[in-house]
């Protein structure tokens, strides 16, 4: 799925990384606990989270993730936006709740396992 499609599906506002919207991602992960995110290395291109601090960006960097979606329209700090843009990440915010946002992307096929059809 293209990052641009994620933006459309989640009705999200783009905060940085416009130049990467046509990049493909294959899986996503949703958590507010960063070590839970760090536990699963599996092409997870997208991080959905309600957490707002610089560690969100660093965690995504460590995992080689390419896109972060802040849920529930929370407003990331200037520092987060700066770190994200310096490290080539797409950062966006969506009005959807974490559960809804995950459901929308999963239903649209992102990171869905073959056997689930």
């Amino acid at each position: 799925m293209k990052i641009g499609e994620i933006k459309e599906l989640l009705n999200a506002e783009l905060l940085c990384g416009e130049e990467y919207l046509d990049h493909d991602v294959f899986a996503a992960c949703c958590s507010d606990m960063m070590s839970d995110v760090l536990a699963f290395v599996k092409d997870q291109g997208v991080l959905l989270t309600g957490l707002l601090n610089s560690q969100v960006i660093r965690t995504a960097n460590m995992m080689d993730m390419v896109c972060i979606v802040i849920v529930r329209n929370k407003v990331p700090t200037e520092e987060m936006i700066e770190l994200a843009s310096d490290t080539g990440l797409v950062l966006m915010r969506s009005p959807l709740r974490a559960y809804e946002a995950s459901g929308v992307l999963y239903y649209a096929g992102l990171g869905r396992r073959e056997e689930d059809g």
């Binding site: 960063m34 070590s35 760090l38 536990a39 290395v41 989270t49 601090n53 610089s54 660093r58």
Partner: protein, 140 residues
Amino acid sequence: MAENIRFHFDVDGENFTSAGEASVAVKKKLRQLGFPPDVIRKVSIAMYEGEINMVIHADGGTADVEVTDDEIVIILADHGPGIPNVEMAMQEGFSTARDNIRALGFGAGMGLPNMKKYTDEMNIDTEVGVGTTITMKVYL
């Protein structure tokens, strides 16, 4: 062969916002040195978890990374409270972190298990009231 490459960092225990900067710097350097992405990811995730632990559990410490011909060695040393029961601390989900740390996105009790998972060797040398030194190796 050329001399081993070494990096040293002081990890500030007062500043949660800057925690992880050493790991970011190491990741960047390993990229420049041309290591494979999976090796870089293992080293940087393990080091990042350890660095965060030093900040949230031990008031900071030092991080040393050495790149040899056949492995990358990460040594994280602190003078924090030490770990009373290492076996318990190594279990997934075990954490002594309080709500203030959990609100920052840490305290799932996954850091040490992740460090073990992403490295080929891990040794914890710890003494209550004295400090903790964690040595991790990723084979090349």
